[in-house]
């Protein structure tokens, strides 16, 4: 009996031991539980699995390996976990809570789709952990719903609408017609872009709203065609966009009128094919074939993932790296201290040059106005875009003065 008690006590002591070592010193750092844990919460099975998903996990892994290599192995322990939020806000919220409360995750990255990002951000704030949104698009993330523990790293609808709208008008596409997904997101995309078009001297001839999600766009496209507008703006996303482009090609809308995608990714072009997508305008925050530096990184990425990175995946790499450097510089993984370092230090890598994180959490960096190449212009695999213009950071990101984020008013 006594022996049993003793062994019980030993067992108890052993299980409790890790708890007693909280806030231990590792590599000269104060870490909350001896390890920096990064969680990639993404869509691994649904609509956005291509543009984020497994590719984002690969990117985060690469960032951790590269960080270790840079520090020559003399680093604090880093762990990576990942999960599938299935694009559902409640699944994301559940997972995030579990990661924060039970698994001691310090930072959650990727967060594709706005509903999941907005669900996780307040939970992270409560738990005093960091979120870095790379995948989601809404301006709410750094607007009304902003938190002081969040960074919106890659893009938002403002940057894309603004970039494409302004540039296309300047290139001569001065009359627009919108094909809009009939819900809040579509409406705001349409409104943002219309404002930009009008401000730059263009005309908006009208808009037609299609139900979300839609499959048959024929009647809407015919309306757009008969409007005679030079540009048809696609204020929708995901399969709605790709389907409307395919059907527009069938109706022979191009090249008389041109399409402008307001929220599109490299992978969308890849799956549409250049024949269908050619001549389209779109804006992205990163293009792998932009310069030697982006190519070098993207080729390394390609070796691991067998696909070229989207801006989201490149953003996950860059933001994870930036986060790890900030942890090292701050000497702790406590969210506020790390966030202060992240905002203090400019991002300077293949993804962004001299980019700073604003008070509302927005990373202010350059965007690219792109035009999809014709099939005969594409020289090698994934050679999809002409870079028509670099949109300087100051123009691309929503002006600070108009921000609805309370953190910006200082």
């Amino acid at each position: 009996m006594k022996r049993k008690l003793v062994s019980l006590a030993v067992a108890a002591a052993l299980t409790l031991a890790p708890g007693a070592l909280v806030a231990q010193q590792k590599g000269g750092l104060k870490l909350s539980d001896g390890v920096v844990k990064i969680g990639i919460l993404t869509d691994m099975s649904g609509l956005y699995a291509d543009l984020s998903g497994a590719g984002s996990i690969t990117a985060a892994k690469m960032a951790i390996e590269d960080f270790r290599a840079q520090e020559k192995g003399n680093v604090f322990p880093i762990e990576l976990v990942y999960g599938d939020h299935q694009n559902k806000g409640d699944v994301a919220s559940n997972k995030a809570r579990e990661w924060f409360e039970r698994d001691k995750v310090d930072m959650i990255g990727d967060l594709v789709t706005t509903s999941t990002a907005l669900a996780v951000m307040p939970i992270a704030k409560q738990a005093n952990r960091i979120t870095i949104v790379s995948g989601a698009a809404s301006t709410l993330i750094t607007g009304k719903n902003c938190t002081d523990t969040n960074v919106h790293y890659v893009y938002d609808t403002y940057a894309l609408a603004n970039g494409t709208g302004k540039a296309v008008v300047k290139q001569g596409g001065d009359s627009w017609f919108f094909l809009t997904a009939d819900y809040a997101f579509g409406h705001s995309l349409e409104k943002d872009t219309s404002d930009v078009v009008k401000a730059n001297g263009g005309k908006v001839l009208g808009a037609v709203r299609h139900p979300f999600p839609g499959t048959d766009f024929s009647s809407f496209l015919l309306k757009a065609q008969s409007s005679g507008a030079k540009v048809i703006g696609l204020a929708n996303a995901g399969t709605d966009t790709t389907n409307s482009i395919k059907q527009a090609a069938e109706f022979g809308i191009m090249p008389k009128q041109s399409l402008a995608g307001l929220l599109m990714f490299l992978t969308d072009i890849h799956s549409l094919g250049l024949k269908t997508a050619q001549n389209m305008y779109l804006t992205e925050g990163f293009y792998w074939d932009f310069n030697a530096e982006t190519r070098a990184w993207s080729k390394r990425y390609y070796d691991q993932h067998k696909r070229m990175p989207t801006m989201v995946q490149a953003g996950v790499y860059s933001s994870t790296m930036h986060y790890l450097k900030a942890v090292k510089a701050a000497g702790t993984d406590e969210a506020k201290a790390v966030m202060a370092k992240m905002k203090q230090t400019p991002v300077n890598d293949f993804f962004a040059k001299n980019a700073r994180i604003r008070d509302d959490g927005r990373l202010v960096h350059d965007f690219y106005l792109l035009q999809v190449k014709k099939p005969e212009e594409s020289k090698y695999p994934w050679d999809y875009y002409h870079v028509r213009q670099v949109i300087p950071a100051a123009d691309a990101v929503g002006p600070a003065a108009n921000s609805e984020c309370p953190l910006m008013k200082k």
Partner: protein
Amino acid sequence: MLTRTQWGFIALIVAGVLAPHLGVYPTFLMKCWCLALFACAFNLLLGYTGLLSFGHAAFIGAAGYIAGYSIKAWGLSPELGILAGTAFAGVLGYLFGSLAIRRAGIYFAMITLALAQMLYFVWLQMKFTGGEDGLQGVPRGKLFGVIDLADTLNLYYFVFAIFIVGFLLIYRTIHSPFGQVLKSIRENEPRAISLGYDVDKYKLLAFVLSAALAGLAGATKTVVFQLASLTDAHWHTSGEVVLMTLLGGLGTVFGPVVGAFVVVGLQNQLADKVGSWVQVIMGAIFVVCVLAFRRGIVGEWMTLFSRKR
């Protein structure tokens, strides 16, 4: 001497009280209890009245939005918010029910599905729901102004108590004379009519009760996750609850609870490991369940048990 059902109750309550102390993650359990209540409410309609509603997502979703909005925007306390959501789902159930019970079988299912889809698009368009983005940041608040629900364990026992109350109400309903009439409608509707029962009234009341309890589950879920989203209002949810009920055991008291735990547990465990294969696995389980053990887990177990005796 206790009956088997009473033993079941005791086991359920003991398990529910102890589970968070045995290392089971409380938030996961809370989700399970909410969906278990949802499945039980659904079972009241399908298992005991024989009405297959394919629009129950409408009630869980609507109650979630109403509870979330009233707590967040009007500053209601959580218990009042949950009551508001439940009441709304009840009213909605009355409206849907009075239309749908005029038809039976597949038409009944289609009418409920159509109404639920209409409501889905209403939520998508409305400003206060946040459309695709959902309604976030619902404060958990203080229960009766005293108990702080931000503490996970407090919240857990609150959710568990709600589940038990809802569950007992369903149990009581099933075993009341009213429940007996429902069962007779399930078995032979013309005969129930010929015996002089106003069948439509019974069906409607069962529908309203089921809708309100589904709403109770949805409103509680909103308080747990601090958000209401389109996921709950989507027809997938209506399909999932059918799976939970069938898998656990249609027309058994504990079946839907077991079914909800199995389905939520599997989704939780598998989601990160197999990705999109979750749907395939769920589908396979459904097929196996329908082919091999139609009575569901609890149903089969009970048959096995009584055969041995």
